[in-house]
Amino acid sequence: MNIHEYQAKQILAQYGISVPAGGIAYTPAEAKRVAQHISARGPWMLKAQIQAGARHSGHFIGNSATPKGGIRQVTQIRNLSYEAAQMLNNTLVTDQTGPKGRLVSKVYVEAFKQVKHLFYAGMIIDTSVPAVTLLISDVIDEDIMKIADISREKILRLPLAYDAPLSDEQIKTILDFLLLDKSYSDGFKDFLNKLRVTFINLDAQMIEINPVGVMRNKKLIALDSKINFDDNAMFRHPDILRMQDDYEEDPRTLKAQRCGFHYREFEGNIGCVVNGDGLALEAIDVIRSKGYSAACALNVKGGVDKDRIAAGIKIIMTNPRVEGVLINILGGFLRCNLIADGIITATQEVGMNVPMVVRLEGTNKEEAKAILNESKLPIVFADNTDEAIDKLIKQMEVND
């Protein structure tokens, strides 16, 4: 689960990490008021709040006259509402949003901070160790990705102990890496340990401060902030769950999430309902090998409730890209008869206007087949993935 920058900064502040003074604004006039409230004089930073990175180098659709991105420095108060108006209710496209971009409905106004040094700090779970791992680099902003490709030695990776703060030795390693002397130790220790506590206490999967500013007094300040949380642990953090911004999520993905299922969309025209990530990956690979591609994949693994499965199948059936549905279930925990009931409920509600091929194997398979046969729905059965996809493609070609 992702949250906005301004929410992430509120969280960091609660954990004692310095962030610039700032406030959120929904209209240009409000942006100006917030700016005046923060400080009598500029400059200020104006930051579009969307849950995607590379905002600085992004551009607003239809605003080609002023090719400026979603992060702007404003020096004069008289320009503030004008700049905010260019962002609000406009669509920002960045390297991470895809071509459709994201609508900006709020901007964050912040005091501009003069700092001595800037560096990149990331914290993430390196599953190959596995350990919470700190990433440090003096390459900041979007350039960090370029060097990740070509010069990995410019990023320091430091696995952290799960139950202990950073050691003095680790702090020294970081300072040496950034070519800073030991007079910076206290500031770094304070900042990075607070970041570590935030990460662990809140079940974060990733925290990224890009960049961290080092101030003249050698204290550190988070100038940007992204936090991503583990969905599976949100039962422990109802306050964070309330921060979720539904407008940032694709409505079909959100619906699937509410059912407890994973859903992803792609560029093709075959809708897949499977149980298990591996089965989804395999289906997509096989579809590709036959010259087609998937429109979406719904993973109903662990589903035990007919209504939720029906809701899931409806998401696939109502995706306008879908011209054929593949249902490939190898039931263990998930019993095949639940899938059959789910298919029938879903088709009763939204109809069945595209071909559907069903392959069922495992727990209660025969019962499921009997249920589907009795329904008289025009469903084609298959015995394995390969055959199912062949039959579906054949049906789709007939429909053309």
């Binding site: 992702n2 990530d277 089965l279």
Partner: protein
Amino acid sequence: MSVLANKNTRVLVQGITGIQASFHVKRSMDNGTNVVAGTSPQFSEKEHLGVPVFATVQEVVKNMPIDASVLFVPARAVKQAVREAVEAKIKLIVSIAQGVPVHDMLEIKAMLNGSETLMIGPNTPGLITPDEARLGIFPENIHHKGNVGIISRASTLTYEGVIETNLAGLGQSTVIGLGDDMIVGTDYCPLLTHFMEDDETKAIVLIGKADNVYEQMAAEHYAAMTHKKPVIAFVAGETLTYSAPMGYAADIITHGLSSIQDKKKFMKQSGMIVVEQMSQIHTALAELKLL
């Protein structure tokens, strides 16, 4: 012989009284699994499915020896359940639930480190030795006793692997799902060793995924083995990459990891037979001429 569990394995079920547990444990018992006890913190009856129910694992091991524990507890209770089983020195844990918080897994890995316990899962169909022991939720009707061992990191694809071995007319010695999650209790390596030492197992099918480094570790381990049986390997995720959360950190951290092509190359170099599609496994098995 078989790997890790057979008809004599004394099995405990943690969380035995739940609806899903009851359904699947009964099937396991009907299938020959030697379930000897269960735990349930709130359950007031002393017995369920014909076996005694205790409040804690500690109490169980005071009363009877246990070789393996299957965890049917919900995801949020897995950490505590593993702690109990590890403290009771149970040799094998199989954890079924999906959705265990990743931070809990970091703590669980620390608990397992240096312990006597091997953990399979979480988010796995479990482990099955056909007709002898079903520790989990495998659809037992597709399994046949035989001599191919299966280790898989993609839960439902495991069943495809089973079907492939059936098509080759070989059946399975033991089938193990490592679990679908980013971090799992055990990787392939200790299991590969067990299968190499098992008389019944003549070949191994390994089903991997594109994310993480478990397949590279397996390849290294296999390459270094002196006593080898053939391994047929498949890696899912050719056209789809692992989805990363927003930001750069995830890309940076996964960047050093090799691509799926690299994975396959490592596996081939280690001597494994790598197939491009699941449906090629049965022909690859047939070519081994094990029958």
